[in-house]
C-alpha cells in the first residue's frame, strides 16, 4: 500500500523521515479535472477517514473554503486571486464538479474535517509574474494568465507549453505512450479497471505514483528552466505544510495534489533545505474570491480556460451511475430530437452497438468519447459533421454555468471600477443627471471611455443622449446609478478583472455570437468609442468573415457607411484605424462585385431601396477614397466603373440607372453632352414609359438638387418635355404618380421656375439659350439694379465692411 503510510505500518515512514511525529500520510495523486481521479479520491477519503484534507491550491483561499458548502454554490467555479493594488494581475483556479480537488473539499466539509490549501501562496506566484514581466522573460500573452488547476497548466509563463508537456499533463504523456488519445479513457482503462477489483481503493494511486516516479526520473536530468525551479520551490513549500499538518493531526493526513508532485512530496528532504528554498520569495498583497465559471471556459486552452476539451463528457462520466455510454447516447438522441432530427430508440441501440464494436477493434475495454462520437456520427447524424458540431457544443462541452453565493467577497472588477470612478471624479449617484463631455479634455475622454465600456458590459450607468452641440468632440450622457447595477458589475466579473479587460472580452464574445453584419459593424463602432484596441482586431476579423459570407449586397451596403463613420470617429480619437480601413475597403470591393448582379430583377420597392444603397455607398466611397487601404488601389475609380456598368445595363431598374448617371455627372465623370445623350436614349419611344419615369426619378428626383439641374441644362428639360408629350394616353396615368413624386419634392421656387420654362415652350426657350444671358427661365438679361439691391444684405451676412470693391461680390450672384 504505497499510497498510504499508516503510522507504524512498516519501515517506509513519512516524508519527514524517522522520528517525525504525527499521523499517517496518504498521498492521493490525481489528474486535475479527471472524473476518474475524483471518484477515486472520494473512495479513498471514505476508506481512510483522515483528520485533515490538504489540497493543492493557494492557501489564501482557506478562508473561502466554507463557502463551498453554501447551497448557492454551484460548480464550475473558480478561485480567483488578484493583486490588491492592481486587479488586472490575477490568477484563476477553476474547479468543476468532477475536479478531484472540489470533491476533496466537499468531502471534508461534509464530514466536519478541516481542509486546507497547501500550495505556494498566490502572493508569491503573482509576484513571480511581476518579476518575469520586468525581466521580459515571460511568454504570456496578457496580464491575466491562464491558471489551470495545479501543476503545469497553472503557470501561464511556462515557456513553450507544448501539447506533450510532461509536467503539464503527465497522464496524457503516459496515455499517449500507450497509444491512447484520451488520457481520461486511459485512466479508466488502465487504472480503474485493473487490479483486485473493488478491494483496494488505494491501488490506483499506488500504480500512478510508481509511474510518476519513473517519469520524473527520466525528466529530472537536464532541465533547469524557471518553471522547473519553481516547481521545486512549490514542492518544498508543500512538504513543509504536510509536515506541519502531520504534527498537528494525529488521526492522519490526506493530500490531494497533482500526480506529478507525489514523488516529490514523498521524498525525504531536510526541513532546513526546504525552508531555505521558500525563504525570501517576492510577494505582493493578494485578495481571493470565488467567481462563477462555465464549462465553455474550462474547455478553452487559452484565456482563462483549463484546457479540458470535453468538460460536459467528464461531468457525465462523473455523474452517471452506470452504463455511461448508453446514458450518453440517450442524451445525444434527446438533443437531436429537440433540434428536429428523427432519432428512434433503434438508432440509439445501433449507435451503442457500433460504439462497442469500435472499442473492441481499438482494443479498449469500454467505449469512450471518441468511440461514441464516431458512432453518433455514423448512425445518428448520417455521417455529417454538422449535427455533430451541435452535440459537441451542447453536450461534450456543455452550457453549464456556475454560481457563487452572494456572500463571496467582491470581485476585482468592482474594485477597479471604484478606483476609476475616483480617479475620474465620477460618483455613482442614484439621482439622474446630465453630463456634458468635451472629448478634447483628457478627463472627459476618460469618462466617455468608461461609460462606453460599461455599456458594452451591460452596466447601463450612462445613456448617451443627443448632444446639444453638433461638434464631433462633444458627447452628452444621462447618468443614473441604480442599485442593481452593482449586481450587473458582479455578473460582469466573469469577463475579466478590470473594466478594460472585461469590456474587451465581452466585445469579442459578442462579436462571435452577433447575428447580422450590421450588429458586428455597430459593435466595431462601440469598440472604437470605448477604445478597446485589442477587441477591435478580432471584431474586425469577424466582420471581414461575415462580409465575405454575406450574400446580400444590401447588408454590405448598409454596413459600409457605419464603418466609414467609425473610421472618422477613430480619427477624432486618435485611434489606429489601419485595420478598420482595410476591412472597409474590402467591404467596398465586395459591394462593387456584387452590386451589378444584385440590381437585376427588382420590383419598385426593392429598386428604391437599392437606389438608397447606391447613394450611401457613393458617399462612403467618397469619404473612404481619402485614405485608401494599401493594396486596394483607387476605390473611387473602381466605383465609377461600377456606376458605368449600372447605368448601361438594361436589366437594372430605371431608378438605379438614372441615379448612376446622375452621380457620374455630378462627379464630372460624364460630360453634360453624354448625359443628355443617355437621357435621350432612355426617353426614346422604345422604352416602357414606367421605366423611363423611374429613370427620371433616379436622375433628377428627390432632394438631390435635380430641379436646379433641369433649370441649368435646357436640353434635359426639353428631352423630358418631349418625352412626356409623347407618352400614350393609357400609359400616362401610370407614370403620373411617379412624376408627381419626382417633381413635388422640389422646392417651391424651383418647381415654379420649371413650370414657367415649360409654359414658355421650346421656341421661347431656344431664344433664351441663344441669348446666353445667364439662368434660363428668368429674364433675358441681367437686371443689375435688382442685383445691387441684394448687396447690402450679403455684406451684412458675410460681416464685411462696405468696401469699394463690389465686384467680387457681384460675382457671387451669378
Amino acid at each position: 500500500m504505497a499510497g498510504t503510510d499508516r503510522a507504524g505500518s512498516g519501515g517506509s515512514g513519512g516524508p519527514g523521515g524517522t522520528g517525525e511525529p504525527g499521523g499517517w500520510l496518504s498521498l492521493l495523486g490525481v489528474r486535475h479535472h479527471g472524473p476518474g481521479s475524483a471518484r477515486a479520491v472520494r473512495a479513498a477519503l471514505e476508506a481512510a477517514r483522515p483528520g485533515v484534507v490538504l489540497v493543492e491550491g493557494p492557501p489564501e483561499a482557506d478562508a473561502l473554503i466554507p463557502l463551498a458548502a453554501d447551497e448557492d454554490m454551484r460548480p464550475p467555479v473558480a478561485l480567483l486571486a488578484h493583486a490588491v493594488d492592481e486587479p488586472g494581475r490575477s490568477a484563476f483556479w477553476p474547479l468543476a464538479e468532477f475536479s478531484p480537488e472540489w470533491v476533496a473539499v466537499r468531502w471534508a466539509l461534509e464530514h466536519g474535517v478541516p481542509a486546507r490549501f497547501i500550495d505556494l501562496p498566490a502572493a508569491h506566484t503573482l509576484a513571480w509574474r511581476v518579476a518575469d514581466e520586468e525581466t521580459g522573460e515571460t511568454t504570456g500573452e496578457a496580464d491575466e494568465e491562464v491558471t489551470g488547476q495545479g501543476d503545469g497548466r497553472e503557470e501561464g509563463d511556462v515557456p513553450g507549453a507544448a501539447s506533450l508537456d510532461v509536467r503539464g499533463d503527465p497522464l496524457a504523456v503516459l496515455a499517449a505512450a500507450a497509444g491512447h488519445d484520451d488520457p481520461e479513457r486511459w485512466w479508466e482503462d488502465v487504472i480503474e479497471h485493473r487490479g483486485p477489483g473493488e478491494g483496494d481503493v488505494f491501488a490506483p494511486f499506488t500504480a500512478l505514483e510508481e509511474a510518476m516516479t519513473a517519469l520524473r526520473e527520466t525528466e529530472e536530468g537536464g532541465e533547469g528552466d524557471t518553471a522547473h525551479d519553481r516547481d521545486l520551490v512549490r514542492e518544498a513549500y508543500m512538504r513543509l505544510q504536510v509536515r506541519a499538518a502531520r504534527r498537528e493531526f494525529a488521526e492522519g493526513v490526506a493530500v490531494v495534489c497533482g500526480a506529478w508532485h507525489v514523488p516529490a512530496l514523498r521524498r525525504r528532504a531536510a526541513v532546513a533545505a526546504d525552508r531555505a528554498l521558500v525563504k525570501g520569495l517576492p510577494r505582493t498583497k493578494v485578495d481571493m474570491t470565488w467567481v462563477p465559471w462555465t464549462h465553455r471556459r474550462l474547455s478553452r486552452a487559452g484565456g482563462y480556460g483549463a484546457g479540458i476539451e470535453s468538460p460536459g463528457w467528464y461531468g457525465h462520466l462523473f455523474a452517471a451511475v452506470d452504463r455511461p455510454v448508453e446514458r450518453w447516447l440517450t442524451r445525444v438522441a434527446g438533443l437531436l430530437r429537440e433540434e428536429g432530427r428523427t432519432v428512434s430508440p433503434a438508432h440509439v441501440i445501433e449507435a451503442a452497438r457500433l460504439a462497442g464494436a469500435l472499442a473492441a477493434i481499438r482494443g479498449r475495454p469500454l467505449a469512450g468519447l471518441s468511440e461514441t462520437t464516431d458512432a453518433v456520427r455514423a448512425v445518428l447524424c448520417d455521417g455529417s459533421d454538422v449535427p455533430l458540431a451541435l452535440v459537441h457544443d451542447r453536450l461534450v462541452v456543455g452550457d453549464v454555468l456556475g454560481e457563487v453565493p452572494a456572500g463571496a467577497p467582491a470581485v476585482p472588477l468592482q474594485r477597479d471600477l471604484t478606483r476609476i470612478q475616483r480617479r475620474l471624479r465620477l460618483r455613482p449617484e442614484a439621482a439622474e443627471r446630465e453630463l456634458e463631455l468635451d472629448l478634447r479634455k483628457e478627463t472627459d475622454t476618460g469618462r466617455s471611455r468608461l461609460l462606453h465600456r460599461l455599456r458594452l458590459l451591460g452596466v447601463g450607468w450612462g445613456e448617451p443622449t443627443a448632444s446639444r452641440s453638433t461638434g464631433t468632440f462633444r458627447e452628452t450622457w444621462r447618468l443614473r446609478w441604480e442599485p442593481e447595477l452593482s449586481v450587473r458589475v458582479a455578473e460582469a466579473g466573469v469577463w475579466g478583472t478590470t473594466v478594460l479587460a472585461a469590456a474587451t472580452a465581452r466585445a469579442e464574445a459578442d462579436a462571435v455570437t452577433a447575428r447580422g453584419l450590421a450588429e458586428v459593424t455597430a459593435l466595431a463602432e462601440r469598440c472604437l468609442l470605448a477604445e478597446l484596441p485589442e477587441a477591435l482586431t478580432p471584431v474586425m476579423r469577424i466582420l471581414a468573415d461575415r462580409a465575405a459570407l454575406d450574400t446580400d449586397v444590401g447588408h454590405l451596403a448598409e454596413a459600409l457607411p457605419a464603418l466609414v463613420r467609425s473610421l472618422r470617429y477613430g480619427d477624432v480619437r486618435g485611434t489606429d484605424t489601419g485595420a478598420l480601413a482595410e476591412v472597409a475597403a474590402g467591404l467596398a470591393e465586395r459591394v462593387f462585385v456584387g452590386l451589378p448582379a444584385a440590381c437585376a430583377a427588382l420590383d419598385a420597392d426593392a429598386a428604391e431601396e437599392m437606389r438608397r444603397h447606391v447613394d450611401s455607398v457613393h458617399t462612403a466611397v467618397g469619404l473612404l477614397g481619402d485614405a485608401p487601404a494599401p493594396g486596394h488601389g483607387d476605390l473611387r475609380s473602381r466605383w465609377r466603373a461600377v456606376l458605368r456598368t449600372l447605368s448601361a445595363r438594361d436589366a437594372v431598374p430605371g431608378i438605379v440607372r438614372g441615379r448612376a448617371v446622375r452621380l457620374l455627372l455630378d462627379d464630372g465623370e460624364l460630360a453634360p453632352d453624354e448625359a443628355a445623350r443617355i437621357m435621350g436614349l432612355v426617353l426614346s419611344p422604345g422604352t416602357a414609359p414606367a421605366d423611363a419615369a423611374a429613370w427620371i426619378e433616379g436622375f433628377v428626383g428627390g432632394g438631390s438638387g435635380g430641379g436646379m439641374l433641369l433649370l441649368h441644362d435646357e436640353r434635359l428639360l426639353t428631352l423630358i418635355d418631349a418625352w412626356l408629350t409623347g407618352v400614350p394616353a393609357d400609359a400616362f396615368t401610370d407614370v403620373l404618380p411617379l412624376l408627381r413624386r419626382t417633381f413635388s419634392a422640389y422646392e417651391p421656387g424651383v418647381r415654379r421656375s420649371v413650370g414657367e420654362l415649360v409654359r414658355r415652350g421650346p421656341e421661347a426657350r431656344g431664344s433664351v439659350t441663344t441669348a446666353g444671358s445667364g439662368i434660363p427661365g428668368f429674364a433675358a438679361g441681367l437686371d443689375t439694379a435688382r442685383a445691387d439691391a441684394v448687396l447690402p444684405v450679403i455684406r451684412l451676412l458675410l460681416g464685411r465692411d462696405p468696401a469699394p470693391d463690389d465686384n467680387d461680390l457681384v460675382g457671387v450672384g451669378t
Partner: protein, 369 residues
Amino acid sequence: MSAGAVQTSGTEVLRPHAEHAFAAELAALAAQDDRPRPDRWRLSPWAVALYLRGGTLPDGTVITPKYVGPRRVVEVAVSTLATDRALLLLGLPGTAKTWVSEHLAAAVSGDSTLLVQGTAGTPEEAIRYGWNYARLLAHGPDRDALVPSPVMRAMAEGMTARVEELTRIPADVQDTLITILSEKTLPIPELGQEVQAVRGFNLIATANDRDRGVNELSSALRRRFNTVVLPLPESAEAEVDIVTRRVDQIGRSLDLPSAPDGTDEIRRVVTVFRELRDGMTSDGRTKVKSPSGTLSTAEAISVVTGGLALSAHFGDGVLRPGDVAAGVLGAVVRDPGTDRVVWQEYLETVVRERDGWQDFYRACREVSV
C-alpha cells in the same frame, strides 16, 4: 454472372479484383489472424482494419496501405459490418469510395464481385431476382427458372454485397433494399418462397452526396445504414500529389506530353479548389464564399488534363495559367447567377493581391468577361 463465369488469371486482365491482386496479403493475414471472426468472415474485424490501413505482420509480411485517409473511417466501417449493419459510404467523386468498398468486401468475404452498379435505369430485378423466361415457359415457375441477383446470392451464401452509386438508382427501386436490410429476407411471392439471409450477409453501398440530380435516400432506407463520409484529402500537398499522379496516368493514355513545369499550375488549381470548397483561404485568414459546384479532386484532375491538352495542341506545350483558367471558371461557375459573383469576389479579394498570381489573375479576368 453465374458462379461458372469465366475465370481469368490475374496477369491477363486489365484490372484484377482486389481479392486476386492482394491474394498473398489476404492469405498471410488469414494465417496469422487468431482473433475471433464473425460467422463466414474470412478475417477478424481487426485484421480487416489492418488490411485496409496497412502495417506489418508478426512474421514480417508487409501489408500495403489501401486507404490512407483518417483511421476513424476504416474503423467505423469495419465495426459497422461487424455489428451486422449495412454500410453507406458517402463522398465526393475521387474520395475512394468504390476502392474502399471493394477492398472491404474482398477482406471480409473474399469476394468483391457481388456488385450491383447503380444507374438511372437499374431495375428491381438487379436487386431482387429476374427470370429465365425460356425455362419459365418450358417448366413453369420454380427455383431453377429464377435468376438471382448479386444481393440475393450474397444473402444465400452469407457474403458481402455491394451497391455502387446508390443514389443514382430510382427511389422506388432503392426501397427494395428496405426489406432486405431490415427483415434480412427476400420474399419470392411468385413461388410462395423466400430467401433468408444467412449470417455473414451484409451490404456496402456507395453514393455521391453532393452531386446534382440524385435520388435522395428515403429516411426509411437511410435508417438502415450506418453512414461514413469519406473526407477529401486532408492537406493541399496530398491533394496535389493525387492530382499529379492521376494527370500523369491519364495523360499517358491520351498520349499527351508530360509537363514537367506544370506542377505550379496544378498546385494553383488545387489551391483554388480547396479554398473555394473550404470557404477559407489556405492561410486561414480570409473567408470566401463557396460556389454551388462540388469542386472535387476529380474535377481538379479533369481541369488540369484539359489544360494539358490545350497547351499541347494549341500552346507551347507548357502548362500556363491561360490553359487552366477557362477550365477553372467552368468548374467553379455552375450556376451563372450566384457562382459568377462568388468567383469574381474570389478573384478580386484573394487572387488579385497574391504574390506570383498576377498572370493567373489576368488570365481569369480575360475568360470571365
